[in-house]
Amino acid sequence: MLFPTATFAIFFMLVLPLSWLLQPRGERWRPFIIAASFVFYGAWDWRFCFLLAFSIVWNHLLAVGIHRSGAPRHRKVLLVTALVGNLGLLGYFKYYDFFVTSTHNLFALVGVDVPLETRSIVLPVGISFFTFMGIAYVVDVYRRDFVPVGLGTFAAYLSFFPHLVAGPIVRPGELIPQLSTPRDPRYVDTSRAFFLIGTGLFMKVVIANHLATHIVDEVFGAPNQHSSLEVLVGIYAYAVQIYSDFFGYTNIAIGIALLLGFAFPQNFDAPYSATSITDFWRRWHMTLSRWLRDYLYIPLGGNRKGTLVTYRNLMLTMLIGGLWHGAGWTFVVWGGIHGTALVTERWWRGRPGFVERPWTTGRRAWHRFVTFQVVCFAWIFFRADSFDDAWSIIHRLFTAWGESSPLVTVGVLAAIAVGIGSQYLPRRLPLALMARFSRLPVPAQATVLAVGLLVIHAMGPEGVAPFIYFRF
């Protein structure tokens, strides 16, 4: 069930009032929201509901076991069991065929035939997200940062439909306390919720879809048919497409949760205005960055074990983060480029005698420009189907200047300008718009929403392409 569809609108219009009616009675609300979330998830493939149910029961039992156990060794065994179960599930569904083909092809280089068979496994939507949330829960319980909750509350946490298929990755400490306490129906941040849903729909349905169909798919599908200018604009367009797509999804998810009375963490903070790659990762997919920092980078030792180990940890975190996005070596290279950039920045700032100069307008603009180019270069590997395709894009970028560029249209440039320009808007502007909207009478608010729906629906293409992050 995709957010920008009539099916979801009907589903949500049923869930919203029922959820508020049942909110005062947690023992009734929790089964209701779990059932609604399973209906939402089962709309893709009902068989995967069993997988989600297994993940809930597995993580709950092991978290309770860890909490009750006093012996450190026993606790550790249970933690490792939980991690093996979670990562085993993810590994089987997402990486099994990748592992088999990589192993087979590696040995084929030396003429050895490895008798491993691929299994053509279908990737369950959202598995990467709910697996990471399950791991976060168990690890937090192990660290004694969190006391396990009842099965019903945990099931509501893991399966809560606004975040279920593509995040944001919400920490147990952020959502479970909200799920345990009835939401106050008197104070709902409706203007922010509608603003987020409206902007999310616009970014996904209008901007991302326009760029995908008018330049990105064509350029990345057959780069050698396009001019250097088209390839360059196509790369920038992909940067805006993936941002608009994922930012749009996240905004809708956060807005929907807000209407139900729940606050999710922010997932984006104008990432293309970042002045360094380090800064970029504080602004892009922030909930994944946090997860990787807290459950991977820090357990690896973080920056506490010397310079070289810090570099290694940064690199490993980004390589694994790349692989999390997809079972392919191009994703690993994407992570590697970001890891290399992070290590380079850390080395640069850690040089003896390095002094951070104050920001000037020109210096800030230059840093933003360079950071954006590095991010876009990495996106080439993220989007390309293979290394051959990625090299073809890079080669074409330098070898076909002067050829005609019919794909570089006013519409494409305008969509890119909107996608990037929106990240440089003063923060007070959306706040002022939301405040003004919140003071409108109810009929006027409804009219504004309806006009927004008219514009988005009329400007969007027929049908809605799935969100890019659903495949991760």
């Binding site: 009539a6 219009m13 919203l16 309770v64 065929d97 088999v100 083909t101 087979h104 092809n105 084929a108 003429g111 691929t118 053509s120 496994i121 969190f146 006391v147 396990p148 009842g150 509350t153 400490g173 345990s180 939401r183 106050d184 008197r186 104070y187 709902v188 941040d189 409706t190 203007s191 922010r192 509608f194 064509e218 599908g221 057959a222 050698n224 048919q225 009375g261 395709d389 073809s392 007070r428 706040l431 002022a432 939301m434 405040a435 919140s438 109810v442 608010q445 409804a446 009219t447 504004v448 929403l449 309806a450 006009v451 729906l453 008219l454 629906h457 009329a458 400007m459 027929e462 049908g463």
Partner: protein, 349 residues
């Protein structure tokens, strides 16, 4: 165990404002604004929603959607609420987006089926006299089409159009997308001499639109269904060949779902026999065994000549991965080379 995680109970602040001074509202207000806004939005977008309902797959969901959006479209029209959408669409240059076109151009008699006396004359194309190439079809054509574009990029005698691949379309449902009109327009306007088509991936259903009045079409694969589908395939082929185009029709591949493969066989046999009636003008490319495993059944991965395991088919069990597209593109180019001389211009230089 739970109390440890409960939010501490606090007295609610009296102020009902959030960040930036925005006013917080009650849940009831949220529900009313959502419902009224959505209802009004539905009325404003009624023509588009009615079209979306019309082009859905056959079944109860479509019936319900039509039952709801039909009256809504009438109300919207009566109250003039559909005018802003029409004006916006016109301003965007997409006035016909909400139209439903089910016309299937009727063919008169099929063209003569006599076989040519000898092999067709190979027409020569050069960078000065380029071969126009049009690639179209449902979503299955996109990956082979991209491979074909990449494969022809170095040949300046070929001038391909962008791929005209449209998801969830086919020859069964002109209301979803009218390929008959589209192909006729392309052949009239652009006059491509080479056309590559792939259809059928979404056509394995009972329901057809655009059926001539008085004609009944039975269930998928029935004689009446075959006759109507054959008419449509023939219409497309004749539209192209009568405009002087040479058509390569890519057959449907084996699918992970064996029942779907059997359904694909029905459409493949129709396309194949219709192509055989038009020798020298239509070539049928059988892709079935390109992607069959050692046991003749479906396989997602195939070993290439170097022993490397290559992913040929997407995870959905139907669509192609890039290596599969490259394989099909190479075979399509072979077919085009049989009909056209696309390379001798290089030798003169």
């Amino acid at each position: 165990m739970e109390p440890a995680n409960h939010e501490p109970r606090r007295r609610r602040p009296r102020q009902r404002t959030g960040e930036g001074g925005r006013r917080l509202h009650s849940a009831g207000s949220a529900i009313v604004v959502s419902l009224v806004g959505l209802a009004l939005g539905v009325l404003l977008n009624a023509p588009g929603l009615h079209k979306s309902a019309t082009i859905q797959p056959q079944g109860w969901k479509r019936n319900v959607a039509l039952g709801v959006t039909g009256p809504l479209a009438s109300v919207s029209d009566t109250l003039l609420l559909d005018r802003p959408r029409r004006a916006l669409k016109a301003a965007l240059g997409r006035s016909h987006d909400d139209d439903v076109d089910t016309a299937v151009a009727t063919t008169s008699k099929p063209p003569p089926t006599r076989a040519p006396a000898g092999p067709p004359k190979r027409t020569k194309f050069t960078p000065q006299h380029k071969l126009g190439l049009y690639i179209a079809g449902d979503s299955l054509v996109i990956v082979p089409g991209e491979s074909l574009l990449r494969a022809t990029a170095g040949n300046r005698a070929i001038a391909p159009d962008p791929i005209d691949g449209r998801i969830a379309t086919g020859l069964e449902r002109p209301d979803v997308y009218n390929w008959f009109t589209r192909i006729e327009q392309v052949m009239r306007k652009d006059k491509p001499r080479a056309v590559v088509l792939m259809f059928g991936g979404n056509d394995d259903h009972n329901f057809m639109t655009g059926v001539p009045e008085g004609r009944e079409v039975g269930t998928f694969g029935s004689p009446s269904w075959r006759a109507e589908y054959r008419r449509r395939v023939a219409t497309v082929m004749d539209t192209i060949t009568r405009s002087g185009g040479y058509l390569v029709w890519i057959g449907l591949p084996i699918s992970r779902d064996s029942e779907q493969t059997l359904r694909f066989d029905v459409m493949n046999s129709i396309a194949q026999t219709e192509a055989a009636k038009r020798p020298g003008r239509v070539a049928y490319l059988d892709t079935y065994f390109f992607f069959a495993g050692d046991n003749g059944g479906y396989t997602q991965y195939v070993e290439d000549p170097t022993g490397k395991l290559v992913k040929m088919r997407a995870d959905d069990g139907i669509h192609f991965e890039r290596p599969a597209g490259d394989l099909i593109a190479a075979k399509v180019l072979d077919k085009l080379e049989e009909r056209y001389d696309l390379t001798s211009w290089r030798k003169r230089r």
